[in-house]
Each structure stands twice: as structure tokens, then as C-alpha cells.
């Protein structure tokens, strides 16, 4: 898994590449936490190059979303979710918890 972070004026864009499983999910969590620790809670996760995500990744997203949304200080939105991963998100009832965009510009524009 590889994560790159770009800081925009109104949000942070986090691109997640590769595979997120029980081994790599803690790294995804700490990337989100690091942004939070800088006092930033508006995050776009670009998942275009995400090949695989297990429930460990979904848990990282859930915990991240909870922290970001607390006190109405922000939110995590998802962009370019691959079809296969979208199906698993739907199966686990995660889609109502996140705004999902087909386009990164649109997702960034939400903030």
C-alpha cells in the first residue's frame, strides 16, 4: 500500500494505492490521524488505484470518519471507488456513511 497526501486550502487529498488489509490498515489509520493531529478534518480519499480492501480497511475508514465528523469539524469523502470495492462497501452497509464522488475535483469542491 502507498499513500500520498496533498494539502489543499479547504481539505487534504489522500490517494491510497495498492492493497489495504489487516497488515497495512494501521498505516492508513495513522495517515488520517496525522492529518487530524494537524487540526485538519476535511479529507478526500482518492481510491482510484486501490486494488483491494478488506474489513480492516473499512474499520480504518469508520474510525476516521467518526473522528473527522466529531463536533462538525469535518468529514471524509470518497472519490473514484473501484467497482469491486464499492460492492464490498455496499455489502457491509458502509455507503450511507460516506459521500462518494466519481471525480476528485468534484470531491475536493464539496469542501
Amino acid at each position: 500500500m502507498e499513500i500520498t497526501v496533498q494539502q489543499y486550502k479547504h481539505c487534504d487529498l489522500l490517494a491510497v494505492k495498492g492493497k489495504v488489509d489487516s497488515f497495512t490498515a494501521p498505516e492508513l489509520s495513522s495517515s488520517i490521524e496525522k492529518i487530524n493531529n494537524d487540526g485538519r478534518f476535511r479529507i478526500v480519499l482518492d481510491l482510484k488505484e486501490l486494488d483491494y480492501m478488506s474489513s480492516a480497511g473499512f474499520r480504518a475508514l469508520l474510525v476516521g470518519q467518526r473522528n473527522c465528523k466529531r463536533y462538525n469539524r469535518g468529514e471524509i469523502v470518497l472519490a473514484r471507488v473501484p467497482k469491486k470495492i464499492m460492492e464490498a462497501l455496499e455489502l457491509t452497509g458502509f455507503t450511507p456513511l460516506f459521500k462518494i464522488y466519481d471525480d476528485v475535483t468534484e470531491a475536493v469542491g464539496y469542501f
Binding site: D21, S22, S54, S55, V63, R66, K69, L91, T92, L97
Partner: protein, 139 residues
Amino acid sequence: MRTLIFPAQFGQLEIVRQFTRQAAADAGLDERSICAVEMAVDEACSNIIEHAYEGMRDGEIECTCEYDKESFIVILRDHGRAFDMLKVPEPDFDASLEERQVGGLGVYLMRHLMDEVRYDHLGEAGNVLTLVKRIKKAK
């Protein structure tokens, strides 16, 4: 039939996924079913590592893949403590973000991705989890 024995560590999951993916492809499963098997095995092994082998070092998992005309079968054996993951309650999908539990998701996915999942505790012979996917031939 083929078998992979690996240390019960999260860092091994990638290898196990590749192993089952290849076995499922060789058995003639379609891509969608291959992905389902891959994910179900990941979730099962993650649970074994996290719960059956909790606090234990040097544990191993034995993964055997076999198939016949109708089914692709993955058998996972471990020697950790008895842990029937099928008893883990299903997540509450109506719960709000604040109330949503983080546990139980993997087991839920595993059960829904496979056609049949069975758990047996064989005393000293350890735990056996059997995952069955019925074969839909690739077009």
C-alpha cells in the same frame, strides 16, 4: 489439492490471498468468485490471527484448497484456542456512525461471500474452518 502452511501473522495475508486466488483460478472459478474467495480467506485468517492466536507466538495456519465439479473448498486449520467466529454477532447496519461497532464486519463479509462456512473444534487437533464456494464456470 494444494496446501500452504504459513506463520499466523498479518504480513502473510498477501501470500495467502495469492495462493487461494491461483487455486481458485485453476479450479475454473469466474473472476467475481475468485475475488470473493480471496477476500473470505483473508477475513478468516485475520480472525484466526487476531482471536484464536491472540497473545500467542509461533502459531501457524494451514490452508488447503481443493475442488470437484461443483465446489471449490478452502480448509483452514490452526492450533490456537477454540474460537468459533461464526458465533460473532452480525453488525447492526442501522446503527448511526457514532454507534456503529467496528467488530464483526470481516465475519459478516466472509459468510456472505461464500456459499457455506463450517467451523469444527477438534480438541488437540485444533480448529478447522471450511469455506465452500460453488463453481460457476467462467464464460
